[in-house]
């Protein structure tokens, strides 16, 4: 097990560096630079001096090495759009709204999805099943920004129940949380349904019925436990995946979270911030997959004791 974790951590580091190179190159492949904005044209000599100050006149590989050297010392530089603070400082306050809204969205969406999927599996081909399938399909196919816009239209514009956007008093959280909850709910509805059906169709469940175990106990003592593994292992990666959706949700609801800075850092060619956010997300993805794999191994006797296969 320890060996497995070490091996995975090493391959994670390699992945991380490859990703960082790709991100760095793609970031600079976008035409333009931080001082090309039309609203504030700069004289050429001043711009050149600024570029030199920020090291942007150096060859790309040197810029990359300098940046990564900083990263090693946990120094992610200074965001161009807010020179008064560090990238670390900015992220430190920007992740709060993202985590609160995204976290609540997952914590609300996932259980609803699981219950929906379970109800669907236990009442196969009933209206509940069809409803759950419809919700799951819609939740996964309609883009988050469409869902967000619909939510604003219905609850803010038509019904006047909630404010349309902003961050602050919890009333404003409702719509973004609902937008965030859509994907986890849909994902879990699908996973829970198929995992439960899969288990319910196993002969060992039939044997348990033959033994006289009540249907309720079969579900709670056997089926849930067997269906839980895939659901637990997708949780963390899905949670991190929410971060990608946050780009749209936060932009639409004007929440000053990581997603909003993501958008502005790309627009403003704020290389240090953009790079830091990208690295943060890839690191979280890598770590969440590692934790998932470890969890999977811990929960599944087939891997836990056998030691084979992986």
């Amino acid at each position: 097990m320890l060996q497995f974790i070490i091996r995975r951590t090493l391959s994670m580091l390699v992945t991380f560096f490859v990703v960082s190179i790709i991100i760095f190159m793609m970031m600079h492949a976008i035409p333009g630079g931080p001082f090309d904005g039309n609203d504030m044209p700069l004289p050429d000599n001043i711009r050149a001096r600024l570029m030199a100050q920020l090291g942007l006149d150096k060859p790309l590989w040197e810029q990359y090495l300098r940046y990564m050297w900083g990263v090693f010392h946990l120094d992610f530089g200074v965001p161009y759009q807010s020179p008064g603070e560090t990238v670390m400082g900015l992220i430190a306050h920007a992740w709060v709204p993202s985590l609160v809204l995204g976290g609540l969205g997952v914590l609300i969406g996932a259980p609803i999805g699981i219950l929906l999927g379970m109800a669907a599996a236990l009442n196969r081909n009933s209206w509940i099943d069809y409803l759950a399938s419809a919700i799951a399909t819609l939740g996964l196919t309609i883009p988050v920004f469409v869902i967000s816009t619909l939510l604003i239209l219905v609850f803010a514009v038509w019904l006047h129940w909630t404010p349309a956007s902003g961050w602050g008093e919890p009333r404003r959280w409702i719509l973004p949380i609902m937008a965030y909850a859509a994907v986890p709910m849909a994902t879990y509805a699908r996973y829970a349904r198929s995992a439960m059906l899969d288990t319910l169709n196993k002969p060992f469940v039939t044997v348990l019925r033959a033994k006289g175990l009540s249907e309720r106990r079969i579900i709670f003592q056997h089926v849930l436990r067997n269906s839980a593994i895939p659901m637990i292992t997708i949780f963390l990666p899905m949670f991190v995946g929410i971060a990608t959706g946050s780009i749209f949700v936060e932009a639409i609801f004007r929440v000053p979270g990581l997603g909003a800075y993501f958008v502005s850092s790309i627009q403003k060619r704020d290389y240090p911030l953009e790079m830091a956010l990208m690295l943060l997300i890839s690191a979280l993805f890598c770590i969440s997959y590692l934790i998932s794999d470890v969890l999977y191994a811990l929960l599944n006797p087939r891997i836990r004791l056998g030691g084979k296969g992986r």
Partner: protein
Amino acid sequence: MSEHALELSQISKEFGGRTVVDRVNLVVPKNQVVALVGESGSGKTTTGLMALRLIEPSAGRILLGGHDITSLRQRDLKPFRRQMQVVFQDSYASLDPMMTLGEIIAEPLAIHAIGTASERRDRARDWLQRVGLDGSYATRYPHELSGGQRQRVSVARALILGASVLVADEPTSALDVSVKAQIVNLLQGLQADMGLSMLFISHDLSVVRSLADQVVVMLRGRVVERGPTDRIFANAHHPYTRALLDAVPVIDPTARRRRTFLTAEEINANTPRFRPEDIEPQPLVDTADPQLVALAGSHFVEAIVTGGR
């Protein structure tokens, strides 16, 4: 005469309007092994599951040890569940992968609230040994075993409650030849020891021949022939039974083999025909539909009864 271990009477099952099991009569006498054979999709598993009340029959009656259990509610059925048990083909999917073998084998005792936890553990170990596995296997998980070993665990779990009727649905079909023989021996031994009555569903006529007292042949949901094993193997009347027997692998490679199965037309054309006066007891009606008629020695075959006086 005393009641039978298991009796299915005129039992039928429809799935979505399609009749999968059609008025089957089947008796498993006490202490006997009755083999249910027939091609894939002929309704063997459905029949076995109906006998265990794991699928609700569309019509007909189920008698377990003479008790009519056809319409008992699940709660009232529970005591009867101790008497009838099942072993399936897929040894891995038959065991909860999250549980140790000891827990799996002991679980039926827990379900019926028999003994304390430690007594149950001890009995599970005893049963592991009884089916030929070391007691230390109790703490292992299903994936650590071979298919044959898992099937032994399934047998132990099935019999730990002291069942009198065992439905074995192709328990050896997924196993290698040598392992298959071991499992057949195990079942045979336990059957003799415990006075088990067994409904043995199988494709494998060589196993059937060594294990079964009687053979019931199913074709598209109907019983087309049944009788004592030696009579069926020596003197099958129905063309479908003969085709099944011809399909049994033979050792002599030069012997003629027929693997092809019969079409409905071939079966109809070759269905035995009797005149009413040839048969004992006399059928009630003169009909062109096939019906089961009695031959000598409790041997029945589906035949067309025509002509007569």
